[in-house]
């Protein structure tokens, strides 16, 4: 059962990612990315990371993607899709990259797990949320605080960037 769900979800994920890359209009790309986000949330559930799945829905699908939709609508991109679709002269490099990725994935998929051990399929128990919170606010306190500095800098930057040129207040 789990195996079937995994293959179904990963097929959807790859299809959605390819759709982002190959759909002409930016707004369709954003919608495909939304599909990818939802599939990713499913994969996180499969990995026993319920909290991550929840945040994936709230932060990514709920906030970041809405921002993208807003900008695409604001700029009226769908009326004149960027032409040409592909950056001139780069498809060769890209197909090489994709081949590398596919090859790498294939190697990983069919490589025999080295001597049983942790690779065989045994899993760690999903940590309780309490444990995550304790980790985040004790051992990794610095990381948490630095994230807040990052958000402050990003907020200042985004305000400076998106203000009209002549407006200083």
């Amino acid at each position: 059962m789990e195996t079937a769900i995994f293959w179904g979800l990963s097929f959807c994920a790859v299809a959605a990612a390819l759709a982002v890359v190959f759909l002409r209009q930016a707004v369709n790309g954003v919608m495909s990315l939304l599909a990818l986000m939802l599939v990713m949330a499913g994969l996180y559930l499969l990995l026993g990371a319920q909290l991550v799945a929840l945040f994936q829905l709230i932060v990514y699908a709920g906030a970041v993607l809405v921002l993208f939709v807003l900008v695409v609508m604001l700029l009226n991109l769908e009326r004149k899709p960027a032409r040409p679709l592909l950056y001139p002269g780069k498809p060769a490099v890209a197909s090489l990259l994709a081949l590398c990725g596919a090859g790498f994935a294939a190697i990983l998929r069919w490589a025999p797990p080295p001597g049983g051990g942790p690779m065989g399929g045994a899993v760690k128990p999903a940590p309780p949320i309490e444990q995550l919170a304790i980790d985040l606010f004790t051992e990794r306190l610095l990381i948490f605080e630095l994230t807040s500095v990052l958000l402050l800098a990003a907020a200042v930057g985004a305000i400076v960037m998106s203000r009209k040129a002549g407006d200083l207040s």
Binding site: L142, A165, L168
Partner: protein
């Protein structure tokens, strides 16, 4: 109940806290231009942070469970970064349009200094990543700060897109490191790994992601566009500060790696170095614009410094930090001269515009000539000894081939560096430069200091080298 975490050692982050306070205060400073309090507040903050450096010197303050290690190497780098910021302030006071010379500009600059301070002192890959992101997000905005300039937005978008991909690559390296060792701490590189097969890939991805900051291939193409499009004071800053921070991180990575990861790392350094020398020097030959020439020369200079990284066993750490010191003086000087010469101009300064500068502004011509000679690597400037020490470490560690390429590259670089000197002293009557400001400005004083230091590092290189190797004692002794 869980124990409360005891290792909240804010003392080791003293300079960063000062800078952060300044950055927040600057958001509330109103007005712009000469009458505004923005520049004085920013300069005071940086000087106070600089004063905190000797306070922490030699203490090796460790905090947050080893995530922050403020050792002498980090402090040396921080001092260099803060000095760079001060010179860029002087350039901003001269070259930024009055209306844009406001609190937000300096606030973002201080945020980037916080990010770099975290990067240089970090003992954990995730902390390095967060420092990098704080630095990157502020710089993306600073590059496009003059939004009315089309070239500025073009530079900003290119810088942002390439920078974000470089962060994603760095993150993939971080994830694979975590998978291989179960930890993201730098010291975990030497510990026995669970999945050692992932370590080489992880090391290469980390270095390539960091390579964006020093403009090393394959993430080097942003440099000329960003330097040309950004306000000249920001270009001055970007051409020096992120490189210093990234090289300190690379030094730590190279010092901590062992086993299969180490070989991959060495391979990546050699590749980036050779590719950078080839791309930078060949492209610099073809430039007519002074700032683009300096951008490609910056790519080449970073490639020379990279030779010292695989050669840590042969005193490479001291050589690299000495080179960084000299690079700061000479490149900062060159960009400050450029800022002085091109202020209140529209369009870029071409090399031919400098014709006859020697007769009209002998002081500035002399300064620019000193910086060009130092960048070439001709004695008695510090540039010669910087190259000499790095090449010596490279030969001793057995990278003769790379050093030979570097020597050839240096010979090639004579053509474009010395062409600037020839144009200034040999030709007459350029039409491009009219009405250079008279009198002593802040920027002029900064250029003077840079000239003196560039020559002084060439006269007393041993002194500076000793100071540099004292800053990285562990790397010098342990490897």
């Amino acid at each position: 109940m869980a124990p409360i975490f005891q290792d909240v050692n804010l003392y080791c982050l003293l300079p960063e806290l000062v800078l952060l306070t300044g950055a927040v205060v600057l958001l509330f400073v109103r007005g712009a231009g000469r009458g505004s309090a923005a520049l004085p507040v920013a300069a005071t903050t940086v000087i106070v942070a600089l004063a905190a450096v000797p306070l922490l010197w030699g203490e090796r303050a460790v905090g947050f469970g080893g995530m922050i290690v403020k050792d002498n190497g980090a402090l040396l780098a921080q001092a260099l970064l803060l000095i760079t910021a001060l010179v860029s302030f002087a350039a901003a006071a001269d070259a930024l349009p009055e209306r844009k010379n406001n609190g937000e500009y300096y606030s973002l600059l201080l945020f980037s200094l916080v990010g770099m301070g975290i990067m240089t002192a970090a003992g954990d890959l995730l902390v390095i990543f967060l420092g990098m992101e704080i630095l990157a997000l502020s710089l993306y905005v600073l590059v496009g700060f003059l939004k009315v300039v089309r070239a500025g937005m073009e530079g900003a978008v290119k810088y942002f897109l390439l920078g974000s991909v470089a962060s994603a690559v760095f993150l993939l390296g971080l994830a694979l490191t975590y998978g291989a060792t179960g930890s993201t701490q730098l010291v975990a590189f030497t510990a026995p790994a669970t999945m050692p097969a992932l370590l080489p890939a992880a090391a290469v991805l980390l270095v390539v992601g960091l390579g964006f900051k020093i403009a090393a291939p394959p993430f080097h193409m942003w440099a000329p566009d960003v330097y040309e499009g950004a306000p000249i004071s920001v270009a001055t800053y970007i051409s020096v500060a992120p490189k210093i921070a990234a090289f300190v991180v690379l030094l730590r990575l190279a010092g901590e790696s062992a086993g299969p990861g180490r070989e991959a790392l060495t391979g990546a350094f050699v590749f980036m170095s050779v590719a950078g020398m080839a791309v930078g020097n060949l492209a610099a030959l073809r430039q007519t614009s002074l700032v683009r020439m300096l951008a490609y020369s910056g790519i080449a200079q970073a490639a020379y410094i990279l030779i010292g990284l695989p050669a840590l066993s042969a005193g490479g750490a001291a050589a690299v930090s000495f080179y960084l010191l000299v690079y700061m003086f000479m490149n900062l000087g060159a960009f400050a001269s450029l800022a002085h010469l091109s202020r209140r101009r529209t369009g870029t300064l071409r090399i031919d515009d400098l014709a006859g500068l020697a007769s009209r502004a002998p002081g500035h011509a002399f300064a620019l000539a000193v910086f060009m000679i130092a960048l070439t690597g001709i004695p008695p400037t510090g540039g010669f000894f910087a190259k000499f020490y790095v090449f010596k470490a490279g030969i001793q560690a057995g990278y003769l081939g790379v050093v030979l390429v570097a020597v050839v590259a240096t010979v090639v670089s004579c053509f474009y560096y010395l062409r600037v000197v020839m144009v200034m002293y040999g030709e007459e009557g350029g039409a491009g430069l009219r009405g250079l400001p008279a009198g002593v400005t802040m920027l002029g004083a900064a250029i003077g200091v840079m000239v003196v230091m560039t020559i002084l590092t060439g006269i007393l290189p041993e002194r500076f080298l000793q100071a540099a190797s004292a800053a990285f004692p562990l790397l010098a002794a342990g490897m």
